[in-house]
């Protein structure tokens, strides 16, 4: 029997998945046009629309319904342009390559910062379509009665360091190919993370588009095509066996995590009521145990926490764990005999 929070989360995840993937068709049909002007590529520079059609990082000229970059993995390669333009890593990448003046990005940065501040990594736990697909894989594993793998805290920390190791070279390569002397490399390396991102492979597939699955026209594109399939394999294996262990590696989640601690959406613990049963740690899909481990801390928004509220659901103690927004309580744990 699913708890109300789980029902709410799955409902939001499925609705968000549909809107993010198919919003380009649905919302644009309702609005009749895209909202907000987009930042366009300067003359002579590549964009996701001007790359050759067979390139794996190619969008067929569709404008999104809302032309900005939200937190969470809103993929540029969604069919029909999608609901939003792209993720934050895509935004940094393309605008570093285009050398867009910061003033043109001010509105987009404001919207991203506002939304990331308000909801922190709840974007990862409730909205991200990759997370939704991953949770479906986890559900499949449970149906097959296969145990999930446990990973140590050190391994999770190493993954987080690796996510910096993905983000930093992505931005460096994007800036590098934006220099006039290196623009010929844009046809291979434009949007470097998108080339291997699982969302770039999966999102167009849900729209029935297969042209972006692989490109074997030259050595670099062949290498990137194979690399993207290897990454997709790791993605499936990570979600299937390790629950949301992938989310520790995701560079989009990394950027969102900078806003998690300090966000008005807070996971709180009443230390007096906690009996350290560790039901929260068992339930956490990110493999975190900070909720049971931390002492004397009321707010538990760790960078890795995706605010999925499974810990609140699992906690058997009345009012021990709660979630608040600007201090107003939204949900709290309830007594259950089965876990006491």
């Amino acid at each position: 029997m699913m708890r109300p929070t789980a029902v709410a989360r799955w409902s939001v995840q499925i609705a968000a998945f549909g809107l993010l993937i198919y919003g380009g068709f649905l919302v644009k049909a309702a609005l009749g046009r895209s909202v907000l002007p987009g930042v366009s590529a300067p003359a002579g520079a590549y964009s996701s629309n001007t790359l050759p059609q067979q390139s794996i990082a190619w969008a067929p000229g569709d404008e999104p319904a809302f032309n900005f970059y939200p937190p969470g993995a809103a993929c540029r390669f969604n069919p029909g342009g999608g609901l939003f333009k792209a993720c934050i890593v895509h935004m940094f990448s393309e605008n570093l390559t285009w050398r867009t003046p910061l003033k043109y990005l001010s509105l987009y940065l404001f919207l991203f910062v506002l939304l990331a501040f308000l909801f922190g990594r709840a974007w990862c736990g409730w909205i991200c379509p990759l997370g939704t697909l991953g949770d479906a894989l986890t559900g499949l594993r449970r149906l097959l009665h296969i145990d999930h793998a446990d990973f140590s805290g050190g391994f999770r920390k190493a993954l987080r360091i690796c996510s910096y190791g993905i983000l930093a070279p992505t931005l460096a390569v994007s800036a590098f190919i934006g220099m006039p002397a290196f623009t010929p490399y844009q046809c291979y390396l434009f949007l470097p993370y998108c080339q291997v991102c699982p969302a770039r492979l999966l999102c167009p597939l849900f729209g029935g588009r297969t042209s972006t699955l692989a490109d074997f026209t030259n050595g670099i594109s062949s290498f990137l095509s194979i690399a993207s399939w290897v990454v997709l394999g790791l993605f499936v294996a990570a979600f299937f066996l390790g629950r949301r262990i992938w989310c520790h590696l995701c560079p989009i989640g990394l950027v969102n995590s900078w806003f998690n601690r300090g966000s008005p959406l807070e996971l709180r613990k009443d230390q007096v009521r906690c009996n350290r049963c560790a039901a929260c740690a068992d339930a956490c899909p990110m493999g975190l145990d900070h909720v049971v481990r931390k002492k004397g801390k009321a707010v538990l928004n760790e960078p890795g926490c995706v605010l999925c509220l499974r810990c609140v659901d699992a906690c058997p103690r009345d009012s021990c764990l709660s979630v608040t927004f600007w201090g107003k309580q939204l949900i709290q744990s309830k007594y259950r005999e089965t876990h006491s």
Binding site: P42, A43, K103, Y104, L109
Partner: protein
């Protein structure tokens, strides 16, 4: 909104040249970037000259129909073989706003001093709306840092 209104603008800017590279203001013309690289109707005169009479600083003015998105690029082409075919526009003063070149850069390092092209980037008139969004962004980031610091104690 983010982008100022599209429309007609007068564009004015200066380009500096090395001694002897541009003999006369007539040896300099503006071209559109991309496509057929068509000449843009422009007024050019030497705002300053070198002692050998060549152009030191060329003032270039032309009319420009702006779209809504991003900056626009032009080539400035010069050389003894270059002749400006189109005369300058007659009524620049009647246009809605005046824009200025933001930068001019040499596209390749192996250009000939006596003949070549400069890439000119035309920015729109500074628009306060662009910068206004930095105020709430900074406020939110400040609030985030303050709340993090408060939680850390």
């Amino acid at each position: 909104m983010l982008a100022p209104a599209a429309g007609a603008y007068a564009v004015k800017g200066f380009c500096a040249f090395a001694p002897g590279s541009v003999a006369s203001a007539e040896n300099l013309r503006m071209l559109t970037v991309g496509g057929t690289c068509e000449e843009v109707s422009a007024t050019v005169h030497a705002a300053a000259s070198w002692t050998d009479g060549s152009v030191k600083l060329a003032e270039i003015a032309f009319a420009f129909e702006a779209g809504r998105d991003g900056p626009t690029y032009f080539w400035v082409e010069w050389g003894s073989q270059v002749r400006r075919a189109k005369p300058g526009p007659a009524a620049l003063q009647s246009l809605s706003q005046t824009l200025y070149f933001e930068e001019a850069e040499v596209p390749s390092p192996d250009f000939d001093l006596g003949a070549g092209t400069l890439l000119v980037r035309v920015e729109r008139h500074p628009d306060l709306w662009y910068y206004a969004y930095f105020v709430p962004t900074a406020a939110i980031l400040g609030l985030l840092v303050w709340r993090k610091a408060r939680l850390g104690r």
